[in-house]
């Protein structure tokens, strides 16, 4: 594998030494988050270290309230950090920006805009120098990719929850972010729709290979989508508990994953951790 060769060739190793620095897309170092409360500080996260490589899909799993969402919103820049640092391609982040696209748990579309206008809102912002036709083409391309070619001009408020989240996916990919952050994007959907959207997400991701960090509660979803599953310990003072490498080949199909011998081994590993 090329990664092994590169690791051998290069001596540029970061201080906590997991991966060579030129491979790292997202680097969380000694990350800390404290919420002040009347009864003293509440430490949500402490000493959290995590490196995510380029073109890697990482899922994060952990109990409710362990600080997964806090961590993700800190990476997005929507929540200030109390200590440590977050860098993208070696550069420390300053606030939110379109280099880190977010797919929220609620679709968060502007309900008064059409599907196309919602995607264009981001595209116009990121490609200000493109012509109007080019920007339209980009937005339409991604809406087609998520299967909404018939709904360009439908108002977001007229779309079903699942379709709204498809627009959310299109909007996030269309701005071509360096990192894609997904905060339980399918948590509010029924299992059938969820499966559909996982397929759409992984299909479009296979093509774009955007480094992705996704929070989920669903063990099967975590295995199906990820290169690595990061398990977080329960809060307060949550940190990384364990990391599981998922070595299924890509592109994957749901069937091949389910039928693979290692699938239940992975699943057991994750469930053992969560039930511990």
């Amino acid at each position: 594998m090329s990664t092994i060769i590169e690791q051998n060739q290069s001596n540029i190793i970061t201080d906590n030494g997991l991966f060579p620095s030129n491979e790292v897309m997202l680097d969380l170092k000694n990350l800390k988050k404290v919420y002040p409360t009347p009864k003293g500080d509440y430490v949500v996260l402490e000493d959290l270290n995590l490196q995510i490589r380029k073109e890697e899909f990482v899922t994060i799993i952990g109990h409710s309230g362990c600080g997964k969402t806090t961590m993700l919103s800190m990476i997005a820049g929507l929540n200030p950090i109390s200590g440590g640092r977050i860098s993208v391609l070696g550069k420390q982040i300053k606030g939110p920006g379109p280099d880190r696209g977010v797919i929220f748990q609620a679709p968060s579309l502007m309900p008064w805009m059409t599907a196309l206008q919602n995607v264009l809102l981001g595209v116009n912002q990121v490609f200000p120098h493109a012509t109007k036709a080019q920007r339209n083409d980009i937005a339409k391309y991604y809406l087609q990719k998520v299967g909404l070619e018939d709904a360009f001009n439908k108002r977001a408020s007229d779309l079903s929850q699942g379709m709204q989240q498809r627009v959310g996916i299109a909007r996030a990919f269309a701005i071509k972010p360096k990192v894609l952050l997904l905060d339980e994007p399918f948590g509010m959907l029924d299992s059938l729709t969820r499966g559909e959207l996982q397929d759409i997400l992984i299909e479009i991701w296979n093509k774009e290979k955007i480094t992705a960090v996704m929070i989920t509660h669903d063990v099967d979803e975590a295995i199906f989508l990820a290169d690595r599953v990061v398990m977080m310990t329960s809060g307060p003072k949550a940190k990384i508990g364990d990391i599981l490498d998922i070595e299924f080949e890509r592109p994957r199909t749901r069937k091949s994953v389910l039928e693979h011998d290692d699938y239940y081994k992975y699943r057991k590993h994750l469930i053992d951790f969560l039930e511990h």
Partner: protein, 368 residues
């Protein structure tokens, strides 16, 4: 996508959905459930209107008799039997000099309504004739750089209505132009919010009468050099200032309570402040802004009558006041006509706002 515009959609849109049920009744496609709805929405209000008119009629009659009896009784004790008989005959004849002056009956009000319309037609004809007569002269005067000769006769009831509507719309526009931008700024900035909060809290409950006096003090001085009649200016400014508070408060609330998810999207996309306000904040607060505007318009219409009366500005308010002072035979009936006209126009203005709100707002379920 093209949507067909049906009667049902249109009537529902303007809040008169029962009209389409009536249409269904005539075209024959109606089931039992619809029929029940139809009954509830048309027959029941109709019956209650009839009941109301009936009670009014009886009440007016009772008041009339009470005052008539009192007059006869008084004539009897003061001047004796002959005077009492004369009074009774006089009242029975319906003579103006002795007729009891009390709540008019529905039929009297209806007669007054018709007489007001007749009066309007006469005045309108008069005006048209005047215009025709002076057309050539006016042309010449304009060519010579002189002012045109305008009709200065008494305004009709219908003219008063339009004058009132003009005042209310001018006031509403003023309220809109002040309250919406100010509300947006207050909603966006906590600093401005605390700067303006005392101002809003203190001035919101001030009575229309006081607003009028305040505006009067200021405008009178500002227009001291002008010979023009300032009553219109004073009344529309007072109406605007009285009624703008609901819009101001609602706009500020709408703007400051935009869904956090939308704000996060705007942050992630790094929208500039202009884009953020016009693409995210304003559209999402439109339902609340419109609720405010709806209240503003109905308050404007309500205070207008009192303010026109004070400002001696022509319109329905002045009409009511003049009729009251006039004390003619049918003055009371005319006042009641004006009351109904005011009520019905108020209702129509509310419907108008609702229609506009449905038109521009994304949140169709919110509109009541």
């Amino acid at each position: 996508m093209k949507q067909s515009l049906t009667l049902g959609k249109v009537t529902k849109f303007i809040g008169l959905g029962f009209l389409s049920t009536i249409k269904d009744l005539f075209t024959g496609n109606i089931d039992k459930e619809d029929f029940k709805t139809l009954l509830r929405k048309t027959i029941v209000p109709l019956a209650s209107i009839l009941l109301f008119i009936g009670l009014w009629h009886m009440g007016a009659k009772a008041l009339y008799n009470k005052e008539a009896d009192f007059k006869i009784e008084k004539a009897l004790t003061d001047q004796g039997q002959a005077a009492a008989d004369a009074m009774e005959a006089c009242i029975a004849s319906g003579d103006v000099s002795c007729k009891p002056n009390t709540l008019p009956s529905p039929s009297q009000v209806w007669d007054s309504y018709k007489s007001l319309l007749r009066d309007h037609n006469i005045i309108a004809a008069d005006k048209a004739a005047f215009k025709e007569k002076t057309a050539a002269l006016n042309e010449k005067r304009v060519a010579d750089g002189l002012d045109e000769i305008t009709y200065t006769g008494r305004p009709s009831f219908v003219d008063q209505i339009f004058r009132s509507l003009k005042t209310v719309f001018a006031g509403f526009l003023l309220a809109l132009l002040i309250a919406v931008p100010l509300g947006i700024f207050i909603g966006l900035s906590p600093t401005l919010k605390s700067a303006f909060n005392w101002f809003i809290q203190i001035f919101k409950p001030v009575s229309p009468v006081v607003w009028y006096l305040l505006v009067f003090m200021i405008v009178k001085t500002l227009l001291i050099d002008s010979n023009e009649d300032s009553s219109f200016t004073i009344s529309f400014i007072s109406v605007g200032l009285c009624s703008m508070w609901a819009t101001l408060v609602n706009t500020a609330m709408g703007v400051s309570s935009v869904d956090k998810d939308y704000i996060n999207v705007a942050k992630v996309l790094k929208l500039g402040s202009f884009q953020k306000i016009f693409k995210v904040v304003l559209p999402s607060s439109l339902p609340l802004i419109f609720t405010g505007l709806k209240i503003t318009l109905s308050v404007a219409w309500m205070v207008l009558i009192a303010i026109e009366l004070l400002a001696q500005s022509p319109g329905l308010g002045l009409f009511v006041w003049e009729e009251f002072q006039n004390g003619a035979n049918d003055s009371n009936a005319k006042i009641i006509v004006a009351m109904f006209v005011i009520g019905i126009i108020g209702f129509l203005l509310d419907r108008l706002m609702l229609t506009i709100q449905n038109w521009v707002s994304f949140d169709k379920t919110d509109a009541i």
